[in-house]
Assembly symmetry: C2
Homo-oligomer: 374 residues x 2
């Protein structure tokens, strides 16, 4: 490990494998397909492991992800961000190459833009309807009139109406099993309601897609649902431990860093993992346990209780003890010490790195590239 | 502009040129060299313009920056993050190729590690001493005993003692010309004091290097200083407008985004610039004016007063009016509208993109690559 330059994004392959298996077997038991959201890893090596474990297709957050994973042989792709007409030529190019790329909308205007483009270019897009089941972001109301209007616009406009999808992002604000199970049921029942209303209006709705990591890991049943989407479970992070759907032993992503100095009277150890490495994500700030910019662990990824990355500049992290100055910080973490930091939000921290350093239990080290951009 | 896929990082070349000229001419008047910090842009096209305008060498925050810019012909480089011994082979390799790369330390332990490595590998490193002139991060006390001890360790250990350097990052917490000028004077006087103490102890100290964008733009004089380092001035951002050293018309970096939907009753317009594009940096949160994740502007980069990116998910931004729901948001910003968002922190937002789209006044569009990683 000491040969690695820092900062580096480490992946614990034992934990990664366990996270993938836990989610996949849960979905199998619940009788639904799993369509993992690859925005977390943006890494072919990770996604191939999810597919090998039983995943069925992928979810992407950018068309670049669609392009990269399609080039690697994955065809069944849902682009889960509301479609902007300016990107339709890119979607069409992928579909013309044989990519089964599905897009989403949540308004008549956006649906009409797809219909117009499709007619002009003689292309039939497959479009799913985005639903708002928790008030946290985008989507049509499951019980509203616009749902049927958008479905009709697409269907009568000659597009394939592929189904409905929703993401209960509000689950990130919860932290009890009961509240999470209730949110999962809300996500499920409202999504199924929308599907039933479309069908009652003689519109097709073959796919009913729900998901977020917290609700996927908390749902009691998924009647009427055909597939679940989840992303961050593959790595997990401190936000997930605060929500209560993971423990620190599940967090597969950590940032390797080196101690470069101290401010002894302040109890600070300075490390070379700043916000450029950890990201500026402060997802645990409003949760029960605020980890600053991350939880300090030793080289075996065992948490050093009470020590967090309290502050961050671009290439400097400040490690300190929570709740009181450690006057012996320079002895505890001498210059040159290497540490591993668990991130608040794995999607954000991973995005800061061009590659992962994957470690298996035999301590073999391999590099897995990841990509960024759009 | 409508041909561009979104999100995209736009650079206004007129503003960029003006920012470069303003800082360079100020430094010329103050009689010091300017060593720009290239961590903001990580882009050769930008840095070549800074050098053409008169900059003397560069400052880097990672060894990758040193490698990339040295490969492009820039040799005089200061690596302004405390040296970790694990990186010395990389520094030595660059110096062996002819790169005049200087490193920094702020402790006897780190200095001794450099001396030990240098002796073992028969290499003489040039080392500068990092000073703490404002209590915000790393560095030796200018009036402390350790300053002399570290200098002596290096000098007697056979290394080149190149000078002292400091960065008054605490200037980011100020917002009046008087307080900023006082901080600039504190940064200058304490750095000069350290240089004088080293010289009085018969240790060499040819370079006296200070800098941050706010202090560089606020210093009344720089007696005893040989060079200034500053980074974000090249793009400027909303943090700098809140500090008072830039206006919105100076901000050269913006994120082009497309409206993808609405939640009309909440007054939200959803755009395809989320935190993956803007970064999670909330630098204006504690300042006088909190811009959320950024200030909304029209396609000519004219601010739309009162509209900010209020919230952000990975690939979704939520635009809303500050202080009251805009019931007509869907008419104001219809689906498909393209907008430009000024960032809180240019270094963080730029880091989310693999390239800039540079726009000159003739509306010509060229792509300038930037790099990330370590």
């Amino acid at each position: 490990m000491l040969q690695l330059s820092t900062p580096a994004a480490l992946l614990d392959l034992t934990r990664l494998r366990r996270n993938i298996e836990t989610m996949q077997s849960r979905m199998t038991v619940l009788g639904v397909k799993l369509r993992p959201h690859v925005k977390t890893s943006k890494c072919l090596e990770v996604v191939l492991r999810q597919i090998a474990a039983g995943a069925s297709g992928i979810t992407v957050s950018t068309l670049k992800e669609a392009e990269q994973f399609f080039a690697a042989g994955i065809s069944d792709i849902l682009y889960a961000v509301g479609m902007a007409a300016v990107k339709l030529p890119q979607v069409r190019a992928l579909r013309d190459q044989g990519c089964d790329l599905k897009i989403i909308v949540d308004s008549v205007e956006a649906a009409q833009a797809i219909v117009d483009f499709g007619r002009e270019h003689r292309h039939i897009f497959e479009v799913w309807l985005e639903l708002d089941t928790d008030g946290h972001r985008a989507g049509l109301k499951p019980d509203g009139d616009e749902l049927i209007a958008v479905g009709r616009t697409l269907h009568e406009g000659g597009m394939v109406l592929g189904g409905v999808m929703t993401h209960a992002g509000a689950s990130y604000e919860l932290n009890t099993p009961e509240a999470l199970a209730a949110m999962a049921e809300q996500e499920r029942s409202r999504c199924v309601l929308a599907a039933e209303r479309l069908r009652a209006a003689t519109l097709p709705c073959p796919n009913v897609s729900v998901g977020s990591t917290p609700t996927a890991l908390s749902a009691k049943h998924l009647e009427g649902v055909t597939e679940v989407r989840a992303g961050v479970y593959v790595f997990h992070d401190l936000v997930m431990t605060n929500i209560g759907v993971a423990s620190m032993d599940d967090v597969a992503l950590s940032v390797l860093t080196t101690v470069i100095g101290h401010q002894k009277e302040k109890g600070w150890a300075l490390v070379d993992a700043g916000w450029m490495a950890m990201s500026r994500d402060r997802g645990t700030q409003k949760q029960t346990h605020d980890y600053g910019y991350g939880q300090v662990c030793d080289l075996n990824c065992v948490p050093v209780d009470g020590y967090i990355v309290e502050g961050a500049n671009q290439e400097h992290g400040i490690i300190a003890r929570v709740g009181g100055i450690d006057g012996d910080i320079a002895k505890r973490f001498p210059v040159g010490t290497q540490l591993r930091i668990l991130p608040n939000h794995a999607c954000a921290t991973a995005a800061q790195f061009p590659e992962y350093v994957a470690l298996d239990s035999a301590k073999d080290v391999v590099t897995w590239p990841r990509f960024g951009g759009w």
